[in-house]
């Protein structure tokens, strides 16, 4: 497997990088959707995330990345627990054209044919448990797979009823998607699943553009040397994630911040409670990354656009983009407070 381009070597694209970091700090936020034009480094950034994620502890050799206490198929509930081992946080690609059996899991054909045994072969959803599930070109994903994903993402459990099997196993993962809106819209139900949504474009500064080309070219020509040059920054970034995860539970969200969030959601007219919840969680994760103990208005302001952009009721006759509408609402309802 080729090593991905380092996350920290990506030029600019701060909103995208920030959103990915926040999703990595707090998996309950519900992942990130990255939409943008061609050649802006969408999938590069997502693939780079894998290298940053700290390892997790899991039962040795478990196909479900389960931790002690989890109930998974093929394992007796009272089986003795071994010592858990460290594995890399799974970042699983859901490639286009994946068949349903590979996604949800199916009867292990080899064993069934050879010995008539009925054994479940876990799929991508099992492998993505406790990690990330990445869908590139998410707007081109087949409808029946989208339905399936929505169901599992909502319940955190994969239920398989096929070929005489009746299996259920935990499947909690952070959904990360990317795509180009010119190639088609995303289904609203799926759109809503993503916690944060960012839009990327080409860098406008010439210096940035030049730097993008130089770094990418250097990486393509001598990947080892390039990775070595960036190893330290990568390590720093990983430490930042670990620190923020630890600090997350201690970050306090005062009532003012919660009220601010409610006011902002009302002002932009975002649908449902999910927006408010995501807004607060993202502000907290951002505060944790920022090394702060209290999530304040400034944090809300920083992450409001990615948290709400995809939740606005669409008014096709309003030419203003979502980002501009949110920015306007922020200035109106949450002016930069003087105390913070």
């Amino acid at each position: 497997m080729k090593h991905p381009f380092p996350f920290t070597a990506i030029v600019g694209q701060d909103e995208m990088k920030q959103a990915i970091m926040i999703a990595a700090v707090d998996p309950t936020i519900g992942g990130v959707l990255v939409f943008g034009d061609r050649g802006t480094g969408k999938s590069t950034a997502v693939r780079a995330l894998a290298a940053l994620l700290p390892p997790i502890k899991a039962r040795p050799g478990c196909a479900y990345n389960s931790q002690p206490g989890d109930i998974v198929p093929g394992r007796a509930e009272d089986a003795p627990e071994g010592k858990p081992v460290e594995i890399p946080t799974p970042v699983v690609d859901l490639p286009l054209g994946a068949t349903e059996d590979r996604v949800v899991g199916a009867l292990d054909l080899e064993r069934a044919l050879a010995s008539g045994e009925k054994v479940f072969e876990p799929g991508l959803l099992a492998r993505a448990h406790r990690g990330f599930l990445y869908i590139d070109e998410v707007n081109l994903l087949e409808d029946h797979l989208v339905d399936l994903l929505l169901d599992v993402a909502a319940s955190g459990e994969n239920v398989v009823e096929r070929e005489g099997l009746s299996i259920r196993h935990p499947a909690r993962f952070v959904l990360v998607g990317s795509g180009n809106p010119e190639e088609g819209e995303l289904r609203p139900q799926l759109l809503d699943r993503f916690g944060l949504s960012v839009e990327v474009g080409s860098p406008t500064e010439i210096a940035d553009r030049v730097e993008v080309v130089k770094r990418r070219d250097a990486f393509d020509r001598e990947p080892e040397a390039f990775l070595k040059d960036w190893a330290e920054q990568e390590l720093d970034q990983q430490r930042a994630i670990i620190r923020a995860r630890k600090a997350l539970s201690r970050v306090r969200v005062p009532d003012e911040t919660i009220e601010d969030a409610a006011r902002l959601c009302a002002a932009v007219g975002s649908d449902g409670l999910r927006g408010e919840l995501t807004l607060i969680r993202a502000a907290r994760a951002f505060a944790a990354l920022d090394g702060k103990r209290i999530a304040k208005r400034a944090h809300l302001r920083a992450i409001a656009t990615p948290a709400l952009r995809h939740r606005l009721r669409r008014d096709p006759l309003d030419e203003t983009g979502s980002a501009a509408r949110i920015a306007r609402a922020i200035e109106e309802t949450l002016p930069e407070s003087s105390k913070s």
Partner: protein, 572 residues
């Protein structure tokens, strides 16, 4: 139309792609099938003997990415994997004919492989992860400007070669050189930092957003140097590479360059470890000017840029619809099949048969291999979405044009905003002056519609007959692709330009009536919305001639319009 590049350039791109297929991604070859294209392909074949594979346009995923080998599986009684075409093409080139009709799904799969140099897939009982460094040659046989190879894929390929207007006399039979030396040179070729800067700069001044473009140009410059037996990239290499790689991507001329300064991006991080280019110092370098000139030279006017924009807009249509017409979206499996009418889902069938093998062998001790019974058969299930395409044909003539167009545009966007739920596409044709123009090809993307409909021209005569024919032609296309067209005319029915472009009401009315009857004969569902202040006899007559519903809707606004269209086109 760009002048066809000289034959020598065409051969040069073939050599470059043959030398570094994976690095350059490949090229789009726009040309009709014929002796010119054959000659170019023969040259490519001679450069890379036995390393060129053909990609059938209707290839199934299990053949493309890998999957189960039916014969071997049945014979051996255990699952046997087959290698996909992409893996087989590793190290060589894949030829994709009829690229202008390629589905977005196939384009996305190919894009993923180009990006990673590997095939990563989850197919029928196996996880696939195999190297696939390859180049693509997209054979684009599009006749109309709107028919083109999928833009996301074309973005990843270095060159765009247009041989449409080249005659066989412009070509010659050249023996291809041996690439052994160039191959040895390629890894050694060095390009200066300046080269990257100039190419990035040039791409920006021609309004090329994708970061892939300058990167591909840089690789192309290296390939050109290696082909010439040099280890240093010269100014000529850079100039030539820029012309070849950037020329066809330009969306603006450098003269009209306007930097968007309203959203200043943050400075690149880690300035201390990486050398950041000095901004401003590049402004007056002669090489940069040369490169700019070279690109501008292959770009006769901005019509080309417009074309490029349209291409990217057009790629969502057609191909996707075609797929829907042939077999729709896969949606799992169901019991049954093997009767020749449905497609057997082999894997599901085997899974069904598997648990019974021990038992069945006992029943039929003499049989070897797998014992499959009819009740095991599982068929692939496809959903054929009842896709429809709403075609708005809008009268943009006369004084009411601006308002009518604005409302039609509003209605288009309103309908698109709910199009996903309804699985439909929307297209818009405007007519004025002497003809009708397709402003928005069938699309489902709201974003695209907004971009395309930002500027709508209005005023002039009313070429009603041309409009009916244009709508009819598009409706036929839509039908050919397996979707259902609905025509929505917005006009007062008072044509004054005949088919031949001559003014005059009587002739215009006669032509319009003829066109309307032809349309009616084809049985396309249509509705005519009379936008005149008072209902017009002409409009009503025209509606009955084209067998359309007549709907007087003076002062139609976007909301009312979309409601009216919904009501008239709803399936009974």
């Amino acid at each position: 139309m760009a002048p066809a590049p000289p034959w020598a350039t065409a051969l040069l791109t073939a050599r470059a792609v043959a030398l570094d297929p994976a690095g350059l991604g490949g090229l789009v070859l726009r040309a009709r099938a014929g002796p010119v294209r054959d000659r170019w392909l023969a040259y490519l074949h001679a450069l890379l003997p036995d390393q060129i594979r053909r990609l059938p346009p209707d290839i199934a995923d299990d053949r493309l990415l890998g999957g189960m080998d039916l014969a071997a599986t049945l014979k051996s009684g255990r699952p046997v994997a087959q290698v996909g075409l992409l893996v087989e093409a590793h190290g060589g080139i894949l030829l994709a004919p009829m690229a202008e009709r390629m589905s977005p799904g196939l384009a996305a799969r190919l894009s993923a492989v180009l990006d990673r140099g590997r095939v990563v897939a989850e197919r029928a009982g196996q996880a696939i992860d195999a190297p696939a460094d390859l180049g693509l040659v997209l054979l684009d046989e599009g006749a109309e400007p709107d028919e083109a190879a999928p833009a996301p894929l074309a973005d990843r390929l270095a060159f765009h070669l247009d041989l449409t207007d080249m005659a066989l006399g412009d070509t010659d039979e050249t023996a291809p050189p041996d690439l052994i030396d160039a191959r040895a040179f390629l890894p050694e070729v060095r390009a200066s930092n300046e080269a990257a800067e100039i190419l990035a700069l040039t791409a920006a001044s021609f309004g090329i957003g994708s970061a892939r473009a300058p990167l591909l140009a840089l690789r192309a410059a290296r390939a050109l140097a290696a082909l010439d037996g040099r280890k240093d990239v010269t100014e000529e290499d850079i100039t030539q590479a820029a012309a070849l790689v950037l020329g066809h991507r330009a969306t603006q001329l450098p003269a009209t360059e306007a930097e968007d300064d309203d959203t200043p991006p943050p400075p690149p991080e880690d300035n201390d470890t990486k050398d950041t280019p000095q901004k401003g110092s590049d402004q007056s370098r002669p090489l940069e000017d040369k490169v700019l000139d070279a690109v501008a030279a292959v770009l006769p006017d901005l019509a080309l840029a417009e074309q490029a924009r349209r291409r990217s807009a057009a790629q969502t249509q057609g191909a996707g619809a075609k797929q829907a017409a042939t077999h729709g979206r896969p949606a799992g499996t169901r019991r049954g099949g093997g009767d020749g009418r449905t497609r057997l889902d082999l894997l599901a069938t085997l899974r069904e048969a598997a648990p019974w093998q021990t038992l069945r062998r006992r029943e039929h001790p003499k049989r070897t291999g797998l014992i499959v019974k009819p009740e095991d058969f599982r068929a692939k299930r496809y959903v054929r979405p009842a896709e429809s395409v709403l075609i708005f044909v809008v009268d943009a003539s006369g004084s009411a044009a601006a308002a009518r167009l604005a409302e039609a545009k509003g209605a288009v966007e309103l309908m698109l905003s709910e199009a996903y739920r309804r699985r439909e596409k929307v297209a818009l044709i405007a007519f004025r002056g002497t003809g009708a123009e397709l402003l928005l090809p069938p699309t489902r993307s709201l974003l695209q519609a907004k971009r395309r409909l930002a500027v709508l021209p209005g005023g002039g005569g009313t070429p009603l007959a041309s409009a009916i024919m244009a709508g009819h032609a598009l409706a036929r296309q839509v039908r050919q692709r397996g979707a259902t067209p609905f025509l929505v005319f917005l006009t007062d029915g008072r044509g004054n330009i005949a088919l031949d472009g001559a003014p005059g009401r009587p002739a215009a009315a006669e032509d319009a009536a003829t066109a309307a009857r032809v349309l009616a004969g084809d049985g396309v569902t249509s509705v005519l919305i009379d936008t005149a202040n008072r209902p017009q006899r002409d409009a009503k007559a025209l509606a009955s001639q084209m067998d359309a519903r007549y709907l007087p809707l003076p002062r139609a606004d976007a909301q009312g319009l979309s409601r009216a269209v919904r009501a008239s086109t709803a399936p009974a």
